[in-house]
Structures are given as structure tokens and as C-alpha cells.
């Protein structure tokens, strides 16, 4: 018999309806998997087994009456950036030590309203600033995947590294994540999972710890394209509490899965063939083109001439907005406080002790580019470059329905391999960050294995509020690539 933890959300939904197993059994199977795995993987910073069982029992009661929401009894992991009422939420920063929200983020409230079960809070880079989950105050997360013939620990990507590792290692059926420059799609690519960043405004940002407000979006990480569609349907909503939340109906994303790509035109941006691109990434991309062609799509070259300016402009906009958002952590209203001789030195000492190296670096850059006399040269300039990037996409989408690119320049790297030079780490987001700058939706879907035996992903970029075309197209790649082998379990300690 298939292990309960191996089921997809779609399969579990059916099993719960058929009464093949209960929500409690499903939750219990995941709780045991987390207990056996977390010491090695560190995907969860706070497992919440009591909450899970209580919520699962409530789901069983509703299912017994023939009731229940779209995610009734489905156990999920929640990135530690989402505020959860009564459950510690720290954004994996020391400065939010012990913070226990008295309110619930809109996205998680939507999930609970549909009957989902919370397994716990997932690790991430501190304040979502990182591409490897190495900046978390709670320590690094191990990727369940390893290079063939090696037991070196690989990073799970970041910032949603706990989410991607937990989904890949079967420690939850799906997870919430957030994406400011690639933080859903890059970890999904590194772990052989599906990750979707919705259009800016599709999911409410209310109750999510803010990093860069004009870029942040919540989205799902799951083990299949269908599961990601099921999750997004539940997560998305129009929320009057977030003025940038889009007042648009939420489509039935799952209905798009399986519609195929016949009649669609897929764009291939020539500027994404970056110098020094690994031949296997190039080959994977070509393979993706062949799959979509074979499924009936037309392929067309497109040009996105401002691509190379996306990352440098991102590293102005994101730190600038972060320096402003993180000004609230002052040791007064929540979290850590260090003493000082006066109020200013109390602030300075608290922030010195509470923020990690990468977060401080970004706050300082952000403070610099917003400081008197520099605003026009940096922030305003970068916002103008965003207009050019957006215009490139608008012109491309006049002739194509979606754009296909690699998700990352390479497969998962080893711990410490890229943490020496900040700019080298930033370059990991080169293919994903353009999408945030333009506010568009993007999905990463597993497409094969690297020469090292680790997962690689392809990215599809869509028109604003057209996630449906991404689900349609990603499912074709998923079907053509075939199921990825499950990573060999080296992480569970014997029961």
C-alpha cells in the first residue's frame, strides 16, 4: 500500500471522501514523519502536532456529516513568515523572538476556512532574505536531495527552503511560501517540487511579515501542478485589508490543469541565454521547447532587452523597501529588546543583536539608497527601470501566451558554497527576479535531473492574472518529464 505521506493532495482528497482513511490518520502519518526527519532536515522551526490533531478531528467531524471545504483534512506546512494566531511567528529572525500573533494572516485564514490542517511553521531565510536558507536564525535546512554518490548537504534553495524541503521529503502535502525575487520558484527547482508565484495582488499580503512590499507575493509549493492549482484557489482572495489586493474573481485554477497547450504560443526569450550558461541547463530548456512543440504549442522567439538590468534594479528596490519595513523592529512593541543607556542606544543595540548579517547588509544598502540626495539616483531610477522591464513583457505578450525559461542557472549547491560573496548569491535569482519586478505570475515545474542526479526546473511566465495558462502549460511539461523519483530517504531516524 502507498504510504499516506506519498499521496498528492488530489489523491488524499479522494481518499478522505471515500473514507479510505481519516484526517486524523493522515495528520498522524505526517506528524510521525516530521518527528523522524526534522533533526536531520530542520525543515520545521516549530512543529504543531497538537494543533494538527485537533484540526484533523474537526475535519473528520465535518467529513462524517458529508460537509467540508476544498482542503478538508489536508495537512500543510506554513512558512514562518505567515502570522498564525496563537502560534509563534518569527520570520526566522532573532529580533522576533517569541512573537505570538494575536491575529491570522488572510492567506492562512483562507486555508483554514477550507478545512486545511496545520502541521507547523517552516524554516526560511531570515525575513525571506536569501537564496539558500542559510541566513535563518534557526539554522540551515538540508535538501532531501543529494548528489549521486555523495553525502554532502545541499541547500534546499531559499528563501522558502523549509517549504520546499518539507514538501519534497513528504513532511507535508503542500506548503505556503512567499516570493520577492524567486523565493518560491528557486527552492521548488532545487527540490523537484512545483512552486508558483502568483500575479502581484492575487493573494493578500495582510498578516505576512513584510520584506519588500511592492514585490512580495504568497504562493504554494506542492508535489504536482494540480496540487499547486488546488492550493492557490484556496489561498487567493480579494482582501479589503490589503489595498494592493486585486478585486477580481478567483478562477477555478484546477479546471485549467489538463487542458493542454494546443493553440498556445510559447515565447523563448533570447536574452535568457546568459554567457556561461551550463550546457545541461541549455539542454533542459531545449527539451522543454520540444515537449511543448510535440504537445501542439507554437514556439516563437521573443526579446526582453532589459533582462540584465532586472537584478541590479531589484537590489535597489528590495533593500530600500526592506529598510523601511524593518524599521518597526525597535525593541518596543514586540520581540527582542537589548538594553541601552538611552532610547537610541536601546534601538541600536536591539537591532544589532536581533538582525543577522545579510539582513543588516540589506537594511544598510536600503538606508543608503533612500538617504538624502540619493533617492533619485537609486530608487527612482530603479522604479523607472521596472517600467522598461514591464514594457518588454507587455510587448512580448502581444504575440505569445506564456514564456519558457530555466528557473535557475544551475542545480542545488552545497552548504557554504556561495555564501562568501553576496553578489554571487544574488545571481541565483537572475531568471526569476524579472517576474517580480514586472509583477507577473511565474511557475517552476520539475523537468529533469542534473548530471549530479539532482532536480532541475523550468519556469513559465504568464500575463498578469493569467495563472491558468501557466497551470495548463506546466502540466504538459510535468507529464512529458514523467514523475521524478522520490529522493532516497537518508534523513529519517529509525522509529
Amino acid at each position: 500500500m502507498t504510504e499516506l505521506t506519498d499521496l498528492t493532495i488530489a489523491e488524499a482528497r479522494k481518499g478522505l471522501c471515500d473514507k479510505s482513511f481519516s484526517a486524523r490518520e493522515l495528520a498522524q502519518a505526517h506528524i510521525e514523519a516530521i518527528e523522524a526527519a526534522n533533526a536531520a532536515l530542520n525543515a520545521y522551526v516549530l512543529p504543531t502536532p497538537e494543533w494538527a490533531l485537533e484540526m484533523a478531528d474537526a475535519s473528520d467531524a465535518r467529513l462524517a456529516k458529508g460537509e467540508g471545504g476544498a482542503l478538508e483534512g489536508i495537512p500543510l506546512g506554513i512558512k514562518d513568515l505567515f502570522c498564525t494566531r496563537g502560534v509563534r511567528t518569527t520570520a526566522c529572525s532573532h529580533i522576533l523572538d517569541g512573537f505570538t500573533p494575536t491575529y491570522e494572516s488572510t492567506v492562512t485564514a483562507n486555508l483554514w476556512a477550507e478545512g486545511a490542517v496545520m502541521l507547523g511553521k517552516l524554516n526560511n531565510d531570515e525575513f525571506a532574505m536569501g537564496s539558500s536558507n542559510e541566513t535563518s536564525y534557526y539554522g540551515v535546512v538540508a535538501n532531501p536531495w543529494r548528489r549521486e554518490g555523495s553525502d554532502a548537504t545541499l541547500v534546499p534553495g531559499g528563501s522558502s527552503g523549509g517549504s520546499s524541503a518539507a514538501v519534497a521529503a513528504r513532511l507535508c502535502m503542500g506548503a505556503t511560501a512567499t516570493d520577492t525575487g524567486g523565493s518560491i520558484r528557486q527552492p521548488a527547482a532545487f527540490t523537484g517540487t512545483v512552486g508558483l508565484k502568483p500575479t502581484y495582488g492575487r493573494c493578500s499580503r495582510w498578516g505576512i511579515v513584510a520584506f519588500a512590499s511592492s514585490l512580495d507575493q504568497a504562493g504554494p509549493i506542492a508535489r504536482s501542478v494540480r496540487d499547486a492549482a488546488i492550493l492557490l484557489k484556496a489561498m487567493a482572495s480579494h482582501d479589503p485589508k490589503d489595498t494592493t489586493s486585486a478585486d477580481l474573481p478567483v478562477p477555478d485554477f484546477e479546471a485549467a490543469v489538463g487542458q493542454g497547450v494546443k493553440g498556445l504560443t510559447i515565447g523563448i526569450p533570447k536574452e535568457y541565454r546568459v554567457p556561461g550558461m551550463a550546457p545541461e541547463i541549455e539542454a533542459l530548456w531545449q527539451q522543454g521547447i520540444e515537449w511543448l512543440k510535440a504537445a501542439g504549442a507554437d514556439i516563437k522567439e521573443v526579446s526582453l532587452p532589459h533582462t540584465k538590468y532586472a537584478l541590479p534594479s531589484y537590489y535597489i528596490v528590495a533593500p530600500a523597501e526592506a529598510s523601511s519595513n524593518l524599521a518597526r523592529y525597535d525593541g518596543v512593541r514586540y520581540g527582542l529588546r537589548e538594553t541601552g543607556s538611552d532610547v537610541i542606544s536601546m534601538y541600536e543595540n536591539t537591532r544589532e543583536a536581533g538582525f543577522g548579517t545579510e539582513v543588516k547588509r540589506r537594511i544598510l544598502i536600503g538606508t543608503y539608497v533612500l538617504s538624502a540626495g540619493y533617492y533619485d539616483a537609486y530608487y527612482l531610477k530603479a522604479q523607472k527601470v521596472r517600467t522598461l522591464i514591464k514594457r518588454d513583457f507587455d510587448q512580448a505578450f502581444a504575440g505569445v501566451d506564456a514564456i519558457l525559461t530555466p528557473t535557475t542557472p544551475g542545480p542545488a549547491f552545497a552548504l557554504g558554497e556561495k555564501s562568501g560573496d553576496p553578489v554571487e548569491m544574488y545571481l541565483n535569482d537572475i531568471f526569476t527576479v524579472t517576474v517580480n519586478m514586472a509583477g507577473l505570475p511565474g511557475i517552476s515545474v520539475p523537468a529533469g535531473l542534473s548530471s549530479e542526479g539532482t532536480p532541475l526546473g523550468l519556469q513559465l511566465i504568464g500575463r498578469a492574472f493569467d495563472e491558468e495558462t501557466l497551470f495548463r502549460t506546466a502540466q504538459v511539461i510535468e507529464a512529458a518529464a514523467g514523475p521524478l523519483a522520490k529522493p532516497a530517504d537518508w534523513w529519517s531516524k529509525a522509529a
Partner: protein, 95 residues
């Protein structure tokens, strides 16, 4: 170097982050490295380009000017490191 040590100290002061003397040299190199790298944006002429302010054309939402939340002082001070009744306590500001 785009930023010197005095600038690092000034920025850290503005950002309200205490930095040790030995960190200043490292930050001078790192911040300069990042700023030199973003300087490639100078290649672009943006004099006739509007800054991006939204993804899709969308009117700013407005609502009735009425109280929708509040009366929850207990919740608001619940996570504070130091409180006195419903007040946040900080080091003395005015002599």
C-alpha cells in the same frame, strides 16, 4: 570604493544599527561591491520614463471613514518586552 568608512558609520546611525569597529571595514567593501554592481543601471537613459507604481492599472481603493478595528489594547501590548498597564515602557526620553 563607493562608500567610505565615515559613510558606513553615518548610514548605520540612520538605520539605528550599532556596528563594531571591526565590522566597518568589511561593510565598506561589501556595500561598495553591491553599489558598484548596481551602477550598471547608469547605462540606461531613463529621462523620459515614468517610474512604475503598479502592475495593472487600478484605482486606489477607498472606504467609508469609520472605525473598523480597535478596542484591543490587551492584544496590542501582549508581545511587548516591557509594559506598564496598557503602555509600552522605554528608557527615559525627556529629562
Amino acid at each position: 570604493m563607493s562608500v567610505d568608512r565615515a559613510t558606513v558609520r553615518r548610514i548605520a546611525r540612520l538605520a539605528r544599527i550599532a556596528i563594531a569597529d571591526e565590522e566597518v571595514a568589511r561593510l565598506e567593501t561589501e556595500l561598495s561591491g553591491i553599489l558598484d554592481w548596481v551602477a550598471q543601471l547608469d547605462e540606461l537613459d531613463t529621462s523620459n520614463v515614468e517610474p512604475m507604481t503598479r502592475v495593472e492599472a487600478m484605482t486606489m481603493k477607498k472606504r467609508e471613514d469609520v472605525v473598523t478595528d480597535g478596542f484591543c489594547a490587551d492584544d496590542i501590548v501582549k508581545n511587548a518586552p516591557q509594559v506598564d498597564d496598557h503602555y509600552f515602557v522605554v528608557p527615559k526620553i525627556v529629562e
